[in-house]
């Protein structure tokens, strides 16, 4: 995963979950971030789709179990999408 992409997802997670960006790591997940509940998970899905112009399938939504996994997913989606 590229550092630039990870930083974008990290900033997005910081905004959504109300946590300073320096406290967000690749391992940050619903178990470690208090505000990462069902609604914020949906907001993360919608934010990713809007920012990167991708459409996430139910399987992909479920893969977003941490900030790092979300970044990996977005990267693979962008690589698979003809630009």
């Amino acid at each position: 995963m590229t550092a630039a992409l990870f930083e974008q997802i990290r900033a997005m997670a910081s905004d959504l979950f109300g946590v300073p960006v320096e406290q967000i790591t690749a391992a940050s997940s619903p178990q470690t971030l208090e505000n990462w509940d069902s609604i914020q998970h949906l907001n993360l899905v919608l934010a990713v789709e809007e920012k990167f112009g991708v459409q996430l399938s139910p399987e992909e939504i479920e893969e977003m179990k941490s900030v790092g996994e979300t970044a990996k997913l977005v990267e693979s989606k962008l690589q698979a999408t003809p630009r």
Partner: protein, 372 residues
């Protein structure tokens, strides 16, 4: 393992019961339970019925991690005819009690939208509740449906209305008002002044065992006065209010032996916020504008005769709101929300022009079995 959402079948019933047990172990909310049976008790699919309920479960292998219901129905939209839509109800996710499943709520809502893009939800307990927030994030338009009430027995109301008595000073004042009769006087005055504005009507109200052809005539006469309404023809009404069901009652209102309107009334199940009060509800009503006040009067009189302490109703159509206000009903704070998906909202355009004549009541959505 990937989560897969499927129609709820009898083979999933044990896993749903286990899902319910996990939710109940981690929460003190008794409402966090999904239907134990795959076939809905209320509105099971049957023949060519135009309205029915169906359930879906989110499976993680053999385990159920979420579930929701869709009430399939047909709505009339002025100028755009009849459309099949669905009410999204009872979504439950294991994410409520276990963050590992935080994605399930989004999966359920998106699955419902994929099955029926013309989707709505109703009630939800207010715009700040999780479901309303989630639907708003998905682009649903939210509309608050006004709430009206009429106090029949002021002293009981003042003693029992727990939602208003949460602060001690207010409870003390209400006790004092109940004991001295000043509360009675104040409530009766406000309601009395309001009800004096309406003229007495020359109608006859009778309880009927079931809806028949006369209801089709009323549906056709009044539907062009609304911009949105779930179909309320005789066939649909017989399914929603089948003969023999006594939790709600059907009133037929007529003038000179001609049916002019109908109303559904019922006594609500006991609810903590109403204390020991008997709460009657004007659940639904249907009439052309000129007959609305007579319906409100007939329904109110029937519930007062039953001995209820308070009468409540939710009405979205401005003409009905006006009829209730003219009949001495007071407007209260409402947490009854109508949320329409993006596609549904597109059909309802121009929204600002159409919204005042939406006909949405407590009979819509999934509220009937939960409240009566």
């Amino acid at each position: 393992m990937a989560i897969v959402i499927q129609p709820y079948g009898p083979e999933h019933e044990p896993a749903v019961q286990e899902f319910n047990r996990r939710l109940q172990r981690s929460s003190d909310d008794p409402n966090l339970v999904f239907s134990k049976t795959a076939i809905p008790r209320w509105l099971p699919p049957a023949g060519n019925n135009p309205v029915w309920n169906e359930f879906f479960v989110a499976l993680d292998g053999q385990a159920v991690r979420g579930a929701y219901g869709l009430k399939q129905e047909v709505v009339f939209i002025r100028g755009k005819g009849l459309h099949r839509v669905a009410c999204y109800h009872h979504p439950l996710s294991e994410g409520i009690v276990d963050r590992s499943y935080a994605s399930v709520g989004a999966l359920l809502a998106r699955d419902a939208l994929a099955r029926q893009p013309l989707l709505y939800a109703l009630g939800m307990g207010g715009v700040e509740r999780p479901l309303a927030k989630m639907l708003k994030a998905l682009g649903f338009g939210l509309t608050r449906i006004p709430f009206y009430f009429r106090v029949v027995h002021p002293s009981t109301f003042l003693r029992e209305m727990r939602a208003l008595r949460e602060e001690r000073w207010r409870a003390t004042l209400m006790n004092l008002a109940a004991a001295t009769g000043t509360g009675w006087l104040a409530i009766k005055s406000v309601q009395g002044i309001a009800s004096l504005r309406s003229r007495p009507a020359d109608f006859v109200a009778e309880e009927v065992a079931e809806f028949s052809d006369w209801a089709d005539g009323l549906w056709d006469q009044a539907k062009n006065g609304v911009s949105l309404a779930a179909v309320r023809d005789a066939n649909t009404l017989r399914i929603l209010y089948p003969p023999g069901v006594t939790s709600t009652r059907r009133l037929r209102i007529s003038r000179n032996d001609v049916a002019t309107a109908w109303a559904i009334i019922g006594e609500r199940r006991k609810d903590e916020k109403f204390g020991k009060m008997r709460v009657g509800s004007i659940v639904d009503c249907w009439a052309s504008k000129e007959n609305m006040t007579s319906v409100v009067k007939a329904a109110t009189q029937a519930l007062e005769k039953d001995g209820v302490d308070l009468i409540v109703t939710n009405q979205s159509q401005h003409a009905w709101c006006s009829a209730f206000e003219k009949s001495g009903f007071l407007k209260g704070p409402s947490n009854f929300i109508f949320a329409a998906s993006k596609k549904f909202t597109e059909l309802l355009q121009p929204l600002e022009e159409n919204r005042p004549s939406f006909h949405i009541t407590r009979a819509d959505g999934d509220g009937l079995p939960a409240n009566f």
